[in-house]
Every structure is written in C-alpha cells, then in structure tokens.
Amino acid sequence: MDGLVRFSFYAFAASSMAIIAAAIAYVVFGVGRVRVLRQTLATSTGHTVTSSQLHQEAGPIGFARWGLMLTWFGMFFAGVAIVTRWIAAGHFPISNMYEYSLVFLFSITLMYIVFERAYGVRQLGAIVMPIAAGMTLYIWSLDPNMREVNPLIPALQAGWIMPFHVGSFNLAYATFAVAFAAAILFLVAERTNAKWLPSAEMLDDVAFRAVSVGFPLFTLGLILGSVWAHDAWGVYWQWDPKETAALFTWLVYGVYLHTRTLRGWRGRRSAYVLLFGFAATAFTYYGNYFFGGLHAYGGV
C-alpha cells in the first residue's frame, strides 16, 4: 500500500479501537447496576425479618464520560482516515464498501455526539455505539484488497455529485441509527418506568428529531441520485433495485412521520415503525450484496 493509504488504514484501526472501547463503556453505563436493598425488622416475638429489594439504577457516570471521550477519538481518527485516503486517492473515498463504511463510522459517531450534546441522553450510546462497533468489525472482515486505492471507474467519476449523493445517505443512515436507539429506549422506558432512563416523551422527541434531520438528508440523497442518473444515463429513475430499496426505506420513514399525527399510533406503534425503519436502512445499506443492477460496482 502507498504510504498515505497505509496511514489512513492505521487511523481507521485507531478509530475502531476507540469505538469498540466506547461501546463497552456505554453498555456498562446503559445496563446500569442493581443494588440490593436489605431491610431488617425486629418483630414483637423477638425474631428478625429481613427483606431484600432489587433496585436498578444507572451505571456509574464515569463510564458514560469515558464513552463520550472515546467516541470523540473514534470520530477524529475516522476523519483522519477519510481525509488521508481522500488525498491519496484524489477523490472523496466512497467508491467501495470499505470506504463507504469508513465514512459511515465518521457519520454515526458525529451524529451520536450531536444528539448526546443536544439531549444529554447518554443511554443512547449503549445502542448507537455498539452499532458503530459492529460496523468496525464489518470493515475488518472485508477483503483487504479493498484497502488499496484504485482509480475511479468512469461511472463514479461524477464530480461533486458523488460525495454529496453518497454523503447525504451516509449521514441519514447515521441519524436513523440514533432514532432506532431512541425508539428502543422509549419502549423500555414506557414498559418499565425505569427511573434511570429519561421519560418516554423525551425519548420520543429524540427519535422524532433524529428522523426530522435524517429524512430530509435521505430525500436529498435520492434527489441527487436522480440528478446523477440523468447525467449518466439520461433518465432520473430506472427502478434499479438499489434505488427502489432506498425508496422503500424513505417510505417507511414517511409512514413514521404520518403516524406521529395519528391518535393511537403516536408513541409505541411509532417506535415499532422506527425499529422496522432501521431494518429497512440496513437492507438498503447492504443491498449491494444481493442486488444486481446499476449500483453493482461497489467493489463488493
């Protein structure tokens, strides 16, 4: 590998270590701890009665702070990996699944930090960061040849459109991951009334805000893809499987946005739609593995 490409890979390796450590820290914080409260009572007969009560509470805050710091490191090193690879390749690095997933690592850590700062809900990290950690393991599992920088094939030589088209989707997927995490926490909070979680209302708001950021980004990605398709093939929609998979995901989140205004659907049912939406997001993200068609040049 070229020196700069190798440096980029090392930066990714550093990022993946930070992200995995962050995920562990957040999970420890998020799972919380169980305290056993024991009470001993003396009875009138002279006997004593002891009762034990399990009391769940949030994990030590230090783990969450460590998790945030490690997430910052993960984001920074992922950014370094992207920039150095960009310089080495001469184009924004999103021409194969290695590069695309590397950019997603940056996006998901960025979006998580934004939402944690906005809402202060650290428990989100217990779900979002393991997703990021899973992505790092996926990147490690890819064919090492993908780490080499190759010239762009003509179809991907599209100037500014390619990074904005792919980047919009990348950021949207990252925010949908945050919405997914908020939906899970919402369902937990609603069912358990856990005191160490924020209220279901707040978590519902987090999920909605995440989708309200992600949905326009996703729409922008679809539009830019259409513009690019017109420049490349003369038609702005060809019912290509990757296109329609993205449309499927977009419609699922469209359903979610409508259910929030519907009596009886807001709350739990909307959360279930978000869980399904994230499954749709994963389906679109990994679609290159089982779709043919015009997008089948991702080096997969």
């Binding site: 190759n150 010239p151 762009l152 094939i153 003509p154 179809a155 030589q157 599209a158 100037g159 924020p198 209220s199 209302e201 707040m202 519902d204 708001d205 805000r209 309200s212 950021v213 949905f215 326009p216 729409t219 922008l220 539009i223 259409s226 513009v227 690019w228 017109h230 420049d231 490349a232 093939w233 003369g234 038609v235 702005y236 929609w237 019912w239 290509d240 499987p241 329609t244 998979a245 449309l247 499927f248 419609l251 699922v252 469209g254 359903v255 409508h258 259910t259 205004t261 519907l262 659907w265 807001r266 679609g287 089982f290 779709f291 043919g292 068609g293």
Partner: protein
Amino acid sequence: MADVSVKTNPKQSRSMLEVAVDKIWRFFTSVRNAVYEIAFLTLLVLIGTLRGSSVPQWIADTIPALQPLVDRWYAWDVWRSSLFAITLAIIAVAIVICTLNRLPGIWTTITNPKVSTSRGFLRGAETNAVYTLTGTHEDILGSIERVLKGKRYRVLTERVGDETHFYADKNRFSNLGTFPFHIGLILILVGGIVASVYGFRDNEFIIPEGSRRNVGHGTGLSVELNRFRDNWSAVGVPIDYVSDITVYEDGRPVKSGSVRVNGPLSYGNATFYQSSFGIAAHLTIVDSSGNMVFSDAVDLGLFTKRDNPDQPAGVARLPQENAQLVVIGPDSDPFNAPELDTMQLQSGQLWVSLESLGESTDVTGSGGEGVVLTQGQPTRVGDYTVTFEREGRFSVLQVGYNPGIPIFIISVFWVLGGLIITFYFPHRRVRGIISDGPDGTTASIAPLAKRDWSGKREFFTLVEKWNETLGTKPAIRLPANATDYDYLRAHENDAGI
C-alpha cells in the same frame, strides 16, 4: 275539541350525491387512510425490489412448496402493474384533497388565530407558569412581550373584561411547509408521465467506429462515431472511455463533441450518453454480380457464442438480400475454460455463417456450416465474397429526450424547501392571561406543547428570560417528566416548584 296544529320540521336530507362526495372526501382526508395507503405502496416497493435480487429464490430453496409463487413473483413487473399505478394515483389524489381540506384552517391559524383563551386551558396544560407581580397590565405585558419578540415571536393581545389575554407564536408560516413538499411529490410523478408520453429513449444506440447511424424518433438526426478512445488502469479496469462524435441533421454536420460517462452531449431534442463499448469487425460483402451489398462494422460482444461466453459474436443484416451473416470472434479469455474454445480462432480471424434473415440467430456455430475469415483475404461464403477488412471499436450510447426535466427540477426545490421549512422551523405557541387578584397581578402562561418535549423545553427558556425581566420566579406546574428539563432540575428547590 282543541285545535291542534302539528308543526313539522322536516329533517333536511342530503342527496345521495352529497353523501357520496362527503364519504369520498372523508376517505381521502383521513390521515389513518393515508398511513395505510403509504404502507401498501411501501409493501409493493419491497416486493418489486426483492424481485431484483436472489432473496425470493432463497425463499423457494428454503421452502420448495413456494417455488410456483416465487416464479410468479419474478414474473410480475410490479413497476408497470396496474396495482402500482392505482396506488400512486390514490395517494396523489389524497394529497390534493388533503391540501385543499387543510389549507383554510392553517391559513386562519397563520393570519387570524384566536387570541383569547380560557383558564381551563391554562390549568389543564401539561405545564404552566404563574407569576405574581405588581404593576399595570401594560407594564407586565410589555415585559413579557419584550422577551417573546426577542425570540422572534409574534404577540397578539386582546382585552377580555378585566383581563388581558395574549397569544404568541413563531414560525407560523412553517405550517405551510407540508404543502410544497407534497405538491412537489406530485410534480415528480407528473414529470415522469410527461417524459414517458412526450419523450423517447433508446438504451442501446450502437455505432461502430467510422460509421454513421440514424437516431430516428422523428429527430432527423444521425450520429457518426469519429473515434473511440479508452484508458485502462494497470489492474485492467477502464478509467475513461470517450466517444468523439459528429451529429448530423438532415445530412448536414451540426455539432461535434465528446461523450463520456457522466458527460453527455446534447443537440436539439436529443442527448447522447456514453453507456459501454466493444470490439467491432469491419466487413465488406460482395454478391456474385460484384455488387457491394454490405460495407460496415459489425459490433461484436452484444451476443456471445452460446456454448462459450468468452467468444464475442454479432450479426450483419442484409435485408435487401433476405439474409444475415453471423460473425463470431476469437476467444477473449483463452485461460478461462479453454475446453469450450472448439473453434480455436486466432487473432485476425473470424468465423462467419450465412443464414436467412429473420431466422433465429444460432450463434452456437456448432451446428451451422461456417467459414473462417482471415483479415484482408476475400473469402467465398455461399453466394457472396466476404472480406474481413479490419478490427475496430463500437460505442454503445443511450439517446433520449426528457421533456419532464424542468418539472422535475421545480419539484426538487419544492420538496426540499417544504422539508426544511416543516422540520427546521417548528411552530411554537404560548397563551397567557394577565389578571388582577387579591395578591396582586398574576400572569398565567402556558405553552401549546402537548406531548411535545421540545416545545416545553423552549417554554422553559422563555420562563428563564421572564424571570430576569420580571425580577421574580413563577409557580410552575410540573410536567410528569420534570427531571427531563434543565430549568426544572436547576430550580427544583425554588418555592413554587
């Protein structure tokens, strides 16, 4: 006998037409139905998407009894089905009717909202703030108003008896954002329909190097491929391929230029896009009378030899002779399955076979009688003399005209603009009453933020500012999730909270 008169008040009955229109209107304006319609469309899109994958076959492999269903699944062109078109049409109609239904109410909220409120609303709100103050209504309202206007709120007031009612909101026009977004979606559909009805498209416009082809579709255009250029990387991946073309209109050259992937060339009502390329063989065919019946390039590669996919093949059609010449080139990858290369053609050789025009092209070469041509050597093939002149290239372009593009571009601005306005400028509202009481003047204020955490958070930032301006802190009705709010956590020991 009493004189009794029965006053009749005949119930006003609606005609069947009115009832039907009302039912249809309610159907299309129902958000619940909209959710079901979008969900159904989502399901159709999923079915169509999976059709382009191996997932259905995996299902059939797992549950063999489902193979007939999977076969029908693969055979069903969802995108061109009536069901898909009808679903899109229903959603489009629902968007239009919903827009017409909601617009008056939203416009009233924007231009002429109800200012007066009730104590019941303020008491029943999920949270409220009650200030006990001294001063006139005007002074107190002025302080409250200053804070609101500092945060870009519009403030409307109304005197109701001895009370001063006020209504404040910001981003009121964001309520309109949903309309351009939804209408933009319809415009996208309209653009697609316009393109399919009034435009044209040719996905495989093949031109061998040095040849000219008619575009057709009533354009009067023809295109000559002057030269084809390509660049390859060291690992054998194409990094650029360019067609240098000249466009002719009614036989006159009108435009020359290059076409590359993502770099189309347009003239008149036609745009040319670079798609792919291949090898071509330039042949001349002379009949037994010495007349040249064919002198052109035959593109090889669009077909392949049936029992050896590494051997490119093509067809030279001679309609005036009611014949066609099948042409097969050498194996392009001799190291891959060499046992399939039964012809063993060398570089500079072609295998050809004469057939009747229209007969299914048998590009196997295995059964048909054929002749091997060597470059530069005229060879007898049936009643003709065929010469393989030289090897060349062909370019595959896509040609099209899309009159729906301006509609699409307009719709893009509407869709994105609508989304930005709707999501990034939420409509915030507060209501309040200033009234005199035994302990002084009270200002009771509550947000319209039912189950809206962000709305309540914004309200508490206003409370923080009012505290500074009014010089006192209010009694707060705590929401159920009080610990979620920074203000309430910071002031949890304050009296009144």
